[in-house]
Symmetry: C2
Subunit: 358 residues, 2 copies
């Protein structure tokens, strides 16, 4: 049976991808060098559309890597000498922390119980932290941090750089880029693209602050910050990137801009409210995140009270609706539902009706 | 004007890519997790087809990364404690060497003049070299090393691991995998795919030989050899990879297998001979690599004797034929022509005729 994907990423493919994909091949763009004018134009288009969509200031570079996981690593290697701090509210924040340890840094983690959020007050950031890592929207638990918390953390710790993971919340999050130093996302979430591209935003002053590190420590060889920034000045990349996805990202960000990002955000909120309202009333399902202020609008994590998640997933699948399983240890009690722009209100209603029949 | 691409990578897209691309989306494969059965099946198919195509023994793992450049880095980080040795016959071998230095290794380079090859005899491999890096086919200069040189190097240096770059020669090269420890290529060359995927073959005994390194040195965080191998046992990857390209690679390798790799190789040889024969007779163009035994069959580098390469490139373009410029410092005197499987005999003849009109 044909499926509609409420999966949290890779997610339902944006309906315009197939058309743009054909256009990419028909225009011969699969055969051009990453040092060509044709490539630079694709980079520029993606840069321009993302800047407009997410309100990214001019003093930020937009860099293309192969995944958010690669960005975790490049960011830590290139921007931290010794101390990183990680507020952990799920598996992806934890992975970011583990990467820092693997790279030989003195990473400090502050863990919050799964399904709960935190305020800027609650964070115990060591005075020597060079980098604070926050996960705006935890794809594993469906916990989202209010946007103003990010700004508050930034203001309280002016000496540390602030990196914000918006992997599954861009472009829904209204991120104030004046209140952070870097952010990143991957395209297989809310942009409805196939996987294989991560996008890293970094402020020029942050680049300048860390560029001395390359002289005194090993910062890797591939995709070093220095090489990325030097190439970015020309709208190029250090080596041949995933050109196909850069092209598609520019096109889909353009679609979102023409549709209107505020309209997308209003619809996301409306659809999320429909789902959470249903979960409040359901006897079989409830929202994992109890405090409404920490509930993600884009990744809704659902506790299955009386049915095994495996059964729920397979019954939904038989109705043509594919949802994600719970993440890691939460697999045996939860399902996860993506509420990305490509998920229509009608599809959310269909999912609610289907869950209502349990 | 519509172009046919003799570019050396990204290259002319394989004519079946558009069809398989649609199939990927129509089957919903853009929306599946890298921990799903559907993904494992794509990985298995690519693994099976590549193993058949390149005659890869069972004791080799086949790992997917984002590019050959990423493989340079992961390979050096994970397989070398201190000493790597690099036989340098062009820019990509040189990049591999520079990566080793950037990662803090004591890399030793032996450079050969641009456009020349080397024998196993000629290599002065230090006794303490842990890893020998050879570039089978230099995409920058069109120099190719005879297959038996690789085996000879392996036999003379049984204590060092041997890594062979086959980025632009797979699947044309008849690589004897019993005579090396690892090899790698990227898919935007002779497989006619969009860029964004590198393939790393590594022998199990090599994995065992280097696995202790992760305990005593920093081997990175993303795509460590240990994580790649652990995930490979399940036909999975450490994080979400470029699933689209893994799928396409399995399909195109399957196409090549059904067509017959020996037939492809015979045709490649025939087309290369046509080009080199033309260059022998031409008064305006000649082969950069003078010694026929070192001439690449897949990347033909051409000296422009009486015309500027810019003019040659633009005149060919006006006839619908796109070739690559010379690489780096060779840009002002050379063009490069790819002779990959998708380049037909008719297209090679058309290019020869067009060059003949200068």
């Amino acid at each position: 049976m044909e499926q509609f994907y409420f999966t949290v990423g890779p997610a339902q493919i944006h309906p315009k991808v197939l058309e743009y994909s054909s256009q990419f091949y028909n225009e011969g763009l699969g055969s051009v060098s990453h040092r060509s004018e044709a490539f630079r134009n694709m980079y520029k288009e993606a840069d321009r559309e993302l800047r407009l969509l997410l309100n990214v200031p001019d003093d930020f570079a937009i860099l293309f890597l192969s995944s958010a996981s690669e960005i975790f690593e490049r960011l830590l290697l290139n921007c931290v000498h010794t101390h990183s701090f990680h507020a952990i509210n799920g598996s992806f924040a934890h992975k970011f922390y583990k990467f820092s340890l693997a790279l030989g840094k003195k990473a400090v983690a502050q863990e919050f119980p799964l399904g709960t959020g935190f305020t800027a007050d609650a964070l115990k950031v060591p005075a020597d932290a060079e980098l604070i890592c926050l996960t705006h929207n935890e794809t594993s638990t469906g916990v989202s941090i209010p946007e103003n918390t990010i700004a508050e953390v930034h203001q309280r710790h002016p000496n540390a750089l602030l990196a914000v993971d918006i992997v599954s919340s861009a472009p829904n999050v209204r991120l104030d880029f004046t209140q952070l130093d870097m952010a990143f996302f991957s395209v297989q979430k809310a942009f409805g693209l196939p996987s294989g591209l991560g996008v890293w935003f970094i402020r020029q002053s942050a680049v300048e602050k860390v560029q001395h590190l390359a002289k005194t420590q090993m910062v890797g060889a591939q995709n070093t910050l220095d090489a990325l920034i030097k190439n970015y000045k020309n709208f190029e990349t250090p080596s041949t990137p995933n050109i196909y996805n850069i092209y598609l990202l520019g096109k889909i960000a353009g679609e979102y801009n023409r549709y209107g990002v505020e309209k997308l955000r209003a619809e996301t909120k409306e659809k999320a409210t429909m789902l959470y309202d249903f979960l409040e009333q359901s006897v079989h399902f409830k929202a994992f995140v109890q405090d409404p202020q920490y509930r993600s609008e884009t990744v809704i994590v659902v506790d299955c009270l009386h049915h095994s998640p495996t059964d729920v997933i397979s019954k939904l699948k038989s109705m043509g609706l594919t949802v994600s399983s719970g993440y890691a240890s939460l697999k045996d009690r939860q399902i996860r539902v993506a509420n990305f722009p490509v998920v229509t209100k009608e599809k959310i209603q269909e999912l609610i009706d289907s869950l209502g029949r349990f």
